[in-house]
Symmetry: C2
Subunit: 682 residues, 2 copies
């Protein structure tokens, strides 16, 4: 509550002596290589030639793909060599994908520990594959039988020696015995039986020779903790929770860190696991925004929390109205007890009253008339915000940002929701993430980048763990399917989505009808399509009034005023949201990004998709029509679930508990009151 | 004619002392970089991360593309920095392509000298762009007029100083004078006029500040001589030209290097500029192939030239029946006089009688039974061919191949047509090309790779200058359009096509009707679609008989027997082929690979496309139906020709000399006797 907050603890001891980190702005370098003896090209996931690690989380299935091919007729094969953070290497056989003419190979690997991994692809010549192909072609044609037998015996015996060396005398014995079965005088079909034996194949795959091994470079993968991928976010303004209004004086008293514990409990009860707070710092007085983003604020208006900084302090301080470090620590502690992680907004900009403006004017842009440049989108002016200039004194500002982050990290904040990261240099973020990852790899950064695709992707590449998305503007079936294919197949190695149904800045047009059914539909879509989803308070109460027609902004936005709510008011979506989070937790399939497939529904208003993770399979059928009953046939491609195409499909609807037997073709009827089936395959 | 040919000249002096070149098989390395201050990603053309140079020829327009973007609202810009073989750098402004949201930038550059070039893309912050955008937004809104003027004057004056420094006092004066026009008291529309002035823009684009310049790595481009891209090939067997048959003894006498000069003259007269000969080396006797690829050859059968090697010599010797080094030199000299380059077949395989088999058995594969492995596609055997093993003694075989190539190069062969390169290690070819390019960058290698796309592309990437293609199997309009888009847009930086209408190995199904119209159509398509095209002798005589139904091989293939022809027999395509080559020579547009667009023809049997190079524009309309008249409308998108959409289009038909005025919509009627219009835009 006092300015002494500026002298809060220096960064925790593991950051060293607190001295500035030298800012090396030379670009990251890495080495890529040409085509080796066995060509391996188009390796993925490789981010910017290997300059940045591909993304993975613990236990996540990651596809490694490459084109692998060779000259002539001899067999080619390929493996992935995975190196864990401790330096242990494991080999994973790759599989050729049809059609063979495209030379596409693939292996799915599942890293099991956090940290810096690498992988490489090794193409190799496969004498076993060559021999087997020859045997399968020549034995039935009675060609070269003696030679085939001689070569087979030699190959099996060499492999037996390798099995011995690997301490596997059983396989060695099997191989030696099989070699003895290759007697040229035997009938060709008997010899073919020997060649095609499964036991032989297993032993040969394990110990058979790999020749002309041609490795690619080792490419980095960083394995984050699972929450970077799978999380359920809830956003509320602490100042609204417990805020009180005194009609006599027409004055609000702010809610505080202490007065919002009850909301924490309710949020946790609905199964959310991340609670996200807008900035909690002192708010500037200069050009403070009033209700509905007006310019005539009074002392009674609380101002926008994103106008960070006042004489009471900047990014390293707490707004006096909210509490102090002790009450912040209590809030984090209570959240932790409840299984909630606190995500703090990190808005790198300053109000004109921010202490940085006086102490470090070089961190801003001074215009030719001597004034400090405020934010603009000409001719619009945002005079309450001074953007930071990262180029005048990178050493100074970079290290200051690092100091501030480490301060909050030391107070238990391990997730930052970064405001408008696309208005800061991409390179700056890369540097920050390099520093943080070196000491605190569990810290997660969530990009609020609503901008063009290249920038959103670049932010992911340099290390943002997760990002807001275009989900808000993907409404029709075709839009959703196309976007999910992009997210799950094209950008999955560097861009992790978090599907927010709304934000304080965005009241999507489709919610502005206020029809509760569309709120249910969008919650179900977000929670089922994406491993991470999020809700901003008020959504569950069907808040829908826009600032003006044609605008996707809230009327009476909480950004500019206190908005205490009665979250138990009826109707609400508390129950549905809680159930969705329960179902997400119960089903590993819903925690994956990549394992999603869409199925044919004979109506454009019905979306059908399935998600899988091994034996866990979930089929989701959602009506996209909040106004009408939709009834049609849904054709499930059961092979996408790893089942026979005509298998009976016993399912349980996770929303109603009802059980059915579905199959490849199913009649579905959904209506605004029950707009979805979430079917667990039993 | 004798074995002394084995002691032919050692490689020319510029290859050094003739000592073996060490074979370094470690993969090529290069450095790629992360995202810089101004992000530049997805740079092209970059082959395998920069491990190999992208392809270009002298005078060819090459697109350089990248995604360039930045944080915030300030203007971004980009340039290509091109470095020529002498180290001179030139800057080429990039242009943003619509839609802006995709951040795609492009510049077309035209290297003007052979050799090793590099390019990099520089993203930069553009104060002029930022100021202009601000001025255009703020002046009409009467916002910050004084500041806009102040900033503009400062910017122009700084730029004037830069113009002075560059020795351009005129531009400096213009800039200083323009600065004086920015008087805040003037009406906003006048100030806006000043800001929007073209003279100002030119001066600012030339000398304006470029800040935060963020270069990518320098990526290689190798600029070949033009023939690597633009060439007209003709293939014939020297042994057939002048071959005579003595019925009394049922014996053939081979044609010779000397007896085929007349055919050279005829080929040159038709405007071809490369003449390609199948292998001219001694042919093995072991398992020699008889007529129609039979196994019962007699002494009277000449054998397949691709079964290289006999006691008379190997790849470094001349078949005694064809002549000797002197007559070979005479042949090359005569070809050169006629404007023809000789392309020699380079078939890296040996007959069992090849001297290498005795002298270097380690260059082949010895099987477990002690025999040398012949070629196989199990269960099929090709016992007349020993494939080379490149892994037993790479130092030996690599250097031997280099020696042989240099031997023929010293005798004037600067183009090699490489037989089946995809049955040899890709890495081997990369090594060979590195050696040859270092001393003889004019030598061109043409890949006979009819195989899977990845291999064909890899061969191009490691340095094959040009390649056979799938053109033979692209027959329908949809197939041709799709393939041309791939060749001109997707693979253009590493894969140069040469469209052969037939080869001794391939008599395409579509020619097997023998209908002369389909021969015309395919010749026109090949010659007009691709900058390089080729014909194998007999095509112009409509030879069409297949070995067997369902086979794309010639009956009585010249590979296994003498085939002297009467090339003046009527009807023939001599005149059409000559005219096509004339037209190709007259029109730079037809010498380009990338500048091709397809237009709408309202009939699936009519193909319409245009090619351009600057002001040279050619529109080609081809009927794909050899049996029927096709009449329909053709809608030309004239903007693809760099013309207004509704421009009148005066054209001359290069096949008939007739002139017309075409336009955006045209009625076309073509028939088997006149299956195409080749329209030069006047």
């Amino acid at each position: 509550m006092t300015q002494s907050k500026l002298t809060q603890p220096s960064p925790p001891s593991h950051t060293g002596n607190g001295a500035d980190v030298p800012v090396d702005l030379s670009a990251t370098t890495t080495v890529v290589r040409g085509i080796g003896r066995i060509p391996v090209t188009k390796v993925s996931p490789v981010i910017e030639g290997g300059a940045y690690p591909a993304k993975a989380t613990v236990g996540e299935l990651i596809p490694v793909r490459a084109k692998v091919f060779r000259e002539g007729h001899d067999a080619v094969n390929a493996s992935v060599i995975l190196t864990d953070p401790a330096g242990n290497q494991t080999r994973h056989d790759m599989t050729p994908l049809p059609p063979a003419g495209l030379d596409q190979w693939e292996a799915w690997v599942r890293p099991d520990a956090e940290g810096s991994w690498t992988f490489r692809v090794e193409g190799w010549s496969d004498p076993w594959g060559t021999w087997l192909h020859n045997a399968q072609a020549k034995l039935p044609a009675a060609v070269d039988i003696e030679l085939v037998c001689l070569e087979g015996r030699d190959l099996f015996e060499r492999t037996a020696a390798a099995a011995d060396e690997a301490g596997d005398p059983i396989q060695a014995s099997i191989l030696r015995a099989t070699a003895q079965l290759l007697i040229p005088q035997r009938p060709a079909e008997d010899l073919l039986d020997v060649a095609n034996g499964t036991g032989l194949a297993k032993a040969m795959r394990k110990y058979g020779p790999r020749e002309l091994i041609s490795p690619t470079a080792d490419f980095p993968i960083f394995v984050d903790r699972k929450k970077a991928l799978f999380a359920s976010w809830y956003e509320f303004f602490p100042r609204s929770e417990g805020a009180t209004y005194d009609a006599a004086t027409d004055t609000w008293t702010s809610g505080t860190f202490d007065s919002c514990h009850r909301r924490l409990e309710e949020v946790a009860a609905m199964g959310f696991d991340v609670v996200y707070f807008p900035p909690v710092h002192p708010i500037g007085a200069a050009y403070k925004k009033g209700k509905n983003n007006t310019l005539d604020a009074t002392d009674k208006d609380p101002g926008s929390p994103w106008a960070v900084g006042s004489p009471a302090g900047g990014h390293d301080a707490i707004h006096p109205d909210l509490g102090d470090w002790e009450s912040f620590d209590r809030l984090v502690a209570r959240a932790t007890e409840l299984g909630l992680e606190v995500a703090l907004d990190f808005a790198l900009q300053a109000s004109p009253d921010h202490p940085w403006v006086i102490e470090h004017p070089q961190w801003f842009t001074t215009r030719i008339d001597g004034t400090i440049a405020y934010a603009e989108n000409p001719p619009k002016k945002y005079q309450d915000i001074y953007p930071i200039n990262f180029d005048n004194d990178p050493e100074g500002i970079y290290n200051e940002v690092l100091r501030v982050l480490r301060l909050w990290m030391a107070h238990g904040v391990r997730i930052f929701r970064v405001d408008n990261p696309h208005t800061k240099p991409v390179q700056f973020w890369g540097w920050i993430f390099d520093q943080i990852r070196a000491t605190d790899p569990d810290v997660i950064f969530f990009a609020e980048a609503f901008t063009k695709p290249e920038m959103m992707h670049a932010l992911g590449k340099v290390g943002f763990h997760t990002s807001y998305t275009y989900f808000t503007w993907r409404v029709s079936k075709a839009e959703i399917e196309e976007y999910m294919y992009e997210l799950s197949r094209d950008t999955d190695s560097f861009y992790r989505p978090n599907f927010f149904v709304n934000t304080p800045d965005i009241l999507p047009f489709h919610l502005q009808s206020g029809n509760p059914a569309i709120f249910s539909i969008r919650a179900i879509l977000a929670a089922m399509l994406s491993p991470a989803w999020g809700v901003y308070a008020g959504f569950e109460l069907f808040e829908y009034e826009a600032l003006a027609p044609g605008r996707e902004e809230y009327l009476n936005s909480e950004k500019y005023e206190y908005r205490p709510r009665d979250f138990e008011a009826q109707p609400n979506l508390n129950m549905l949201m809680g159930r969705l989070n329960e179902v997400r937790l119960a089903h590993p399939a819903l925690q994956q990004l990549r394992q999603i497939d869409f199925h044919l529904a004979l109506d454009d208003q019905l979306l059908a998709f399935s998600k899988t993770d091994g034996d866990d399979r979930v089929v989701v059928i959602v009506s996209l029509d909040p106004d009408n009953t939709v009834e049609t046939e849904v054709h499930l491609d059961l092979t996408k679930l790893g089942l026979p195409a005509d298998a009976p499909l016993p399912v349980r609807d996770e929303l109603t508990g009802a059980t059915f037997t579905w199959g490849a073709r199913n009649f579905v009827r959904l209506n605004p009151a029950q707009p979805a089936h979430i079917l667990a395959v039993l």
